[in-house]
Structures are given as structure tokens and as C-alpha cells.
Symmetry: C2
Subunit: 244 residues, 2 copies
DNA sequence: CGGGCTATTGAAGTTGATCAATAACGGTGG
DNA sequence: CCACCGTTATTGATCAACTTCAATAGCCCG
């Protein structure tokens, strides 16, 4: 199966040289069952991870035991970059479904910066995109109602799944528990449930056994908290003077 | 005055070559009065910014007009990186105090990646640190009480100001309005006020005319929501194989 | 078949929001 | 230097969104 390079190629197509490097990551391919952790808060930082199949939640744990999921990662995402700057990992990376992923050791990242400046810029820009996503999540959690948070999340998820070719007829697998959605959006599972129910009573969505269908995306979008900004794509590349 | 390079040198000291590059940024030095914007949401992305003096808030605006401040930036911070990946800026960068800053045009960033891999890695790691800070802010806003949010924020601010040599005897200038603190922490200004008052009635802090003193940091820290993770510092550099 | 997690629903409780009014401050122009 | 005005801070009273508590039902897995 073709590895999901769509996130890496958002800004510029990879050259043969870069594809070779990216294929090098795939050597150490691993599987993990739902509920298990790629790594936990406090673990040493051995590298970053490339998610090939399945969903992963990256979360922080607060004093008091509450957990905040910072992001739900989908196939093609690179995981664990933030902790590269820390002495120990902050984020727990937990498999939401069964997953396949690769570990990219620290040294490979260092070498990439020396030998593959274009790929480095791609990763750099990708990281900035993640920062934007995080800022948006923060803004929803900090300033939007429960209904706005849920609808915004569902539509964003839908768009990202679409980019990963995982949507069929506005429907997609939805393996998250309501507890997890709550931890992502800063709501209690009970309230997530009520919000979901209101949405499918109204006919905006349809849920069943780990699957979700967006019945009326246009109306749903009117309930959201804000806009998803346009990615620059290749324009970002041009802007930087098309680094070689 | 020595430019505040402490953020850039968190991971590795700059070489002469890199210092030359960094000094190049300073050519286009500008001032802005409190309340004015370096740039607004929706503006074209001409470059990123290096903050020399003063405080800047970076914020997103939601449908409905509510504003979420993602971060309060202090001298030495690089601003505006996330929008490099977008066709238009998402973040509004507003001066909280009178400020001095430099604009670093996009092309200079691109050239840096080609000619100064070490500096690029430093910026890359710095960006990851920003992601961590953002994840933490998200976790406070999503899962902590008002009191926890406020105390965590104050202590974090204190630590960052200290790194910028802007703290004297546990006291520091505090130019933020309570409205702004509210927008940062996802609270109403009224509630920020009540929380502050409770803190200084109890003797944890002291406030007056744009100044704040942390009277009892140790006790205050017991009220916070979580821990500030250790930065890797030079260890991050070693980990990556000391890129040259 | 049994046990544990997940979803669902109802009732009651709280934190923090909203509304509203006043006071204090800071900057401006006369 | 002072009067004025808009912004900010403060405080009280009320309200509501969401939480907490609790109980039941459904599902998945071994």
C-alpha cells in the first residue's frame, strides 16, 4: 500500500531523493492495538513517529488526573514533534484504533536538516500548520459553546479524513468514545452525548456503531465557531523563495 | 542594547556566522504604540517578526466576535510563524505595550534554511516549544478551574519574564487588562477580577497600577493545574546529532 | 454467559456568565 | 494644572450552561 505522504507534500512534491529518505522511515514498521500507547508522558524522547494507519490521540495529563486531548491524529500525520524540544515527552500518544506506525529516530531528523533542506522546510511548514490547528482548537475550547465545539470538530475531522481519502459519501468511521470527544473539547461525556443527540434528532448527522454520517454539512457549518483558514500549499513554497 | 537572543540560544549558542544573520534582521526596526497591530487576521503574510521590546498578544477571532488570545509574547520571541503555512494570516498580533520589533521577510527565512541549517534547527525546536506551550494553554483552558488557570498563567508568565531578565524581586510589570487575561484563559473579565482579588486577599500576590508581585510562589504553585515541562536545552541538540 | 466499558437519560447542583451600576484611573485638551 | 471623558476595575444580583451524581441499558470481548 502507498504510504500516506499527503501531509508531507502539502507544500511541495517530494523529489526522488526525498522519497528515498521518506521510504527509509518505513523500515521500522510497527503495529499497536487500540488503547495502547506509542509512548507516555514522561518517557524519554527517542524519536518522532509517522502514522500509517489508524487514529492516535495526543494528550496531556493535568494535576487531578484530568486529561486534555490536544489533537486527534490521522494517517499521514507526524507525531511527537513537540517533545523533541523537551527533556522528557509531555504528550501521551494513545492509539484510538488499531494502528500501524513507524519510528523515526532523532538522528534521522538531525541528518534530514543537514542533507535535505527542502524536506526540512516541508516539515517546518507542516509543524506551523499544526500550530494553527492547535490555536484553533484552543479558541473553540476557550470561547465557543458546546454545540459550536462539537460541530466545528466534526466538520474539521470530516475535512481531514477526506484529505486522507477516508470518507465515503459523507460517512466515515468514528472510533472515538464520547469520553474522548469530551477530553478533546473540554466537555463532560454526558454533555457530549446530549449534544450529539440533539444533532442527530435534528437530522444534521447520523450515528451508529462506530460510524458517522454528515447529512447536512452546509447547515452544520452554520453552527460552527469559526473558519478553517486556507492552507498556502505551494504558495508558501514560493514565498520562501523555493528553497532547494 | 543587546538584542534578546535568549530564545534563539536555548538549544545551542549561535556562531559568528549565525549572529551575523540574526543581526541582519535588526535592520528594519520599528516601533508601535500600545493597542496597535503588527498585523491583523486576513492580512497577507509578508514575513515573521522578532520582538525586541514590549509585550504582544497573538489572537484569533471567532464568529460572534469573541476573541481568543493564544499567547502573550515577550521580548525575544519570534512572532507570526504559524501563518507562514497559510494563504492569509490567521493570527492578529496586537501590541499590549509600546513595542519595538523587526520584520523578517519570507525570503530571509527561506535562505536561512539553505545557508544556516543550525539556525534552522534552532528555530524548528523553538517552534516545537511553542507548540508545547500552546498544548499546555489548551489543557488549562479545557480542563482546569478558573483559579487554576489564573495561577498557572501567572507563574508561567513569571518564569518567562525571568528568562528575559524582566523580574525584580518577584515583581514585574503587568500591562494586561483583565479583559485580555480573560481572553487568554477563556474567562470573563468579571471572573478574572474576582479570582485576582481572592489571590491578593489571601496574600499570594500583590497588584497595583500595572505591576504585580508574587508574594508566595511556593503556595501559589500548589494551586496550579500542572507542571511546566523541562526544556531539553542543549540535550535536544545532542539528540539530533549536533547538526552542523 | 458474565464483566467491564460505553451510551443514554433524568435530576440536582455549581461554576462561571451575564447584567448592571459605580468607582478609579489615565490620558487629553483647554 | 485641572476638568473631562473613555477605558478599566470592582462589586452585587441573577441566570444559565454545563457538571455532577446516579441509575439503567446496550454492546463487545473473552
Amino acid at each position: 500500500m502507498q504510504p500516506p505522504y499527503h501531509r508531507l507534500e502539502e507544500f511541495v512534491p517530494l523529489t526522488q531523493h526525498e522519497l528515498t529518505i521518506a521510504r527509509g522511515w518505513l523500515s521500522d514498521r510497527r503495529q499497536l492495538a487500540r488503547g495502547h500507547c506509542i509512548r507516555r508522558e514522561g518517557d524519554p524522547v527517542h524519536g518522532v513517529f509517522f502514522l500509517l494507519e489508524g487514529w492516535v490521540g495526543s494528550s496531556l495529563i493535568l494535576r487531578g488526573g484530568k486529561r486534555q486531548i490536544a489533537k486527534i491524529h490521522l494517517p499521514g500525520d507526524m507525531l511527537g514533534f513537540p517533545s523533541l524540544s523537551l527533556s522528557k515527552a509531555v504528550e501521551t500518544l494513545e492509539a484510538v484504533t488499531d494502528i500501524t506506525f513507524c519510528t523515526i529516530p532523532n538522528l534521522m531528523i538531525g541528518r534530514m536538516f543537514e542533507n535535505a533542506p527542502r524536506l526540512s522546510v516541508a516539515m517546518f511548514l507542516s509543524s506551523q500548520l499544526e500550530r494553527v490547528a492547535l490555536m484553533q482548537n484552543l479558541s473553540w475550547v476557550g470561547a465557543a459553546s458546546a454545540m459550536e465545539r462539537v460541530t466545528t470538530f466534526l466538520l474539521d475531522l470530516h475535512d481531514r479524513l477526506q484529505a486522507a481519502h477516508l470518507v465515503k459519501d459523507a460517512g466515515f468511521d468514528f472510533p472515538l468514545t464520547q469520553v474522548q470527544v469530551g477530553e478533546l473539547l473540554g466537555l463532560t461525556p454526558v454533555h457530549v452525548n446530549r449534544t450529539f443527540r440533539r444533532l442527530d434528532e435534528t437530522g444534521y448527522i447520523e450515528r451508529e456503531r462506530g460510524h458517522m454520517i454528515i447529512k447536512d454539512a452546509a447547515s452544520l457549518r452554520r453552527l460552527t465557531a469559526g473558519f478553517v483558514p486556507d492552507k498556502a500549499g505551494h504558495a508558501a513554497w514560493d514565498r520562501l523563495g523555493q528553497p532547494s
